[in-house]
């Protein structure tokens, strides 16, 4: 073997080795990209599955609420009507007891009104038909009737940019948030503020209750309800901003993504 052949063989072997390293590096990059694509696809499928699951849950829940609403309207409502007629008859039969019956009648009238409001807010069809803004008015009216907490509602704009599904989610989230505030916060004031136009939607729900540590609560095992609120909003294309300070209160802000 002459010198040229030795040089050539060593250099070519070295070049082959270098080529091998380059091929290995390229193969790693390609496989990493494919893995990333698969992971993204998997994440998309998972998200889609979660959305479908949430949709089914919503449908089941809405059906149950609709049924409850119908039951309140058709059954309890009819009983109320029967009681009204009965009281009217009693008033005619016993004019001397008219004043006593009027008090009972007033209470019954208030109960019927409240029942009607509750029935409407439970009914998806009503929400779909009347729209979010009107249904919110009804729900706020119902909350105001509870006397405590003191509820204030400011509304700017009269056009909702949300889809029907988003409106339903906003309304249910609002119900859940206010229920939580009523049950746990000990708030004396509930401040609602809605700002909506063709392009933007911002709905803020604030209370002056005892508040909580957001990070710790989200990390604890007791935060299922809170996580659920975030998840439902996210899947419906909504964003929730939560701020809470101990002894100062809590604010939820729902906006369109």
């Amino acid at each position: 073997m002459n010198q040229e052949e030795i040089v050539l063989s060593i250099v070519s072997t070295s070049l082959l080795m270098l080529l091998l390293i380059v091929i290995i590096a390229i193969a790693f990059v390609i496989s990493a990209r494919q893995k990333l694509k698969q992971e993204m696809l998997l994440a998309e499928t998972k998200l889609q599955y979660e959305q479908e699951l949430r949709q089914v849950e919503n449908e089941v829940s809405e059906q149950m609420m609709n049924r409850l609403s119908q039951e309140l309207h058709d059954n309890i409502g009819q009983l109320h009507t029967a009681m009204h007629i009965q009281i009217q008859n009693q008033k005619l039969d016993h004019p001397e007891l008219k004043e006593r019956f009027e008090t009972v009648e007033a209470y019954l009238g208030e109960a019927t009104r409240q029942l009607k409001i509750l029935s409407r807010t439970l009914n998806y069809d009503y929400l779909g038909h009347a729209g979010l803004l009107n249904t919110l008015d009804i729900e706020v009216e119902r909350l105001k009737n509870l006397k405590r907490p003191e509820v204030s509602f400011t509304k700017e704009g009269s056009i909702s940019p949300l889809t029907k599904n988003q409106e339903l989610v906003v309304f249910r989230l609002f119900q859940e948030i206010t229920q939580n505030a009523l049950r746990h916060s000990g708030a004396s004031k509930l401040k609602l503020s809605l700002n909506c136009s063709e392009n933007q939607f911002r709905f803020s729900i604030s209370d002056n209750g005892k508040g909580f540590d957001v990070e710790n609560t989200l990390a604890s095992a007791k935060s299922n309800g809170l996580h659920n609120i975030f998840k439902r909003a996210e899947l419906a294309g909504l964003k929730i901003k939560l701020q809470s300070e101990l002894e100062k209160g809590t604010t939820f802000e729902i906006s369109k993504l």
Partner: protein, 222 residues
């Protein structure tokens, strides 16, 4: 400074400077690679001094014992650097298994050959070992950061090491043979294989250090 000294060391000097800038942002992995560069500088200067001394005292010119000693220390540095990137017990066990043949061959070279001849067998094993383990590290970096691997300093450092060890393996394996019969050829091959790849290796290390320097905060482990 002769042109050859410049050619042999310019990549290395750039890596030293880049490493100096990035030193405060280095983690153990980077520091060990930087230490290896410093040791290389030390061995280069030592080899030069040894040859100069031998030449002035008209002794036989041979500085291979410096190269042999440095090779073992370099291997230790690079193994330690790789070890800092291992988190699982199984990975460490596999590393121990891979290091074993290298250690056996190194012991064989020590016992069977004079320190004045190059330990080509153990160096060849070192090449195979480093190509294997740093390929694994490259695989892990690219898979953990599939979109940002290009900006990871470790990517370029690892590629530099892999290219050097894969490219010099054939030349180093035949080093003793060429040293005995084709000394001039060895010189030529040293220039076009070893020095070229050495520059590529240290320039890629310098690129890694530069990327590290550009990072705003210390990096997490690769």
């Amino acid at each position: 400074m002769t042109w050859r000294m410049f050619y042999e060391s310019f990549g290395h000097v750039i890596a030293l400077i880049a490493g100096g800038f990035a030193f405060t942002r280095m983690q153990t992995f980077h520091k060990l690679l930087y230490l290896q560069i410093l040791l290389y500088a030390l061995s280069y200067v030592s080899s030069y001094l040894v040859i100069t001394y031998q030449r002035t005292h008209q002794l036989t010119l041979n500085n291979l014992w410096v190269l042999n000693s440095y090779s073992a220390i370099e291997a230790a540095c690079l193994l330690l650097a790789f070890y800092t990137q291992l988190y699982q017990k199984r990975e460490k066990q596999v590393l121990a298994l891979l290091v074993l043949p290298y250690l056996v061959l190194l012991l064989y070279d020590w016992s069977a050959h004079s320190i004045y001849s190059f330990y080509s067998l153990s160096f060849y094993a070192e090449c195979v070992l480093f190509v294997l383990i740093y390929s694994y590290l490259l695989y892990r970096i690219v898979h953990r950061h599939p979109t940002e691997w290009k900006t990871k300093p470790e990517t370029w450092m690892v590629i530099g090491l892999m290219l050097y060890y894969a490219g010099t393996a054939p030349y180093m394996a035949l080093f003793n043979l060429l040293n005995q019969s084709h000394t001039k050829l060895l010189y030529v091959l040293h220039l076009i294989v070893n020095d070229l790849l050495c520059n590529a290796r240290y320039l890629l290390l310098a690129l890694g250090f530069w990327l590290l320097y550009k990072q705003n905060k210390p990096l997490q482990r690769a």
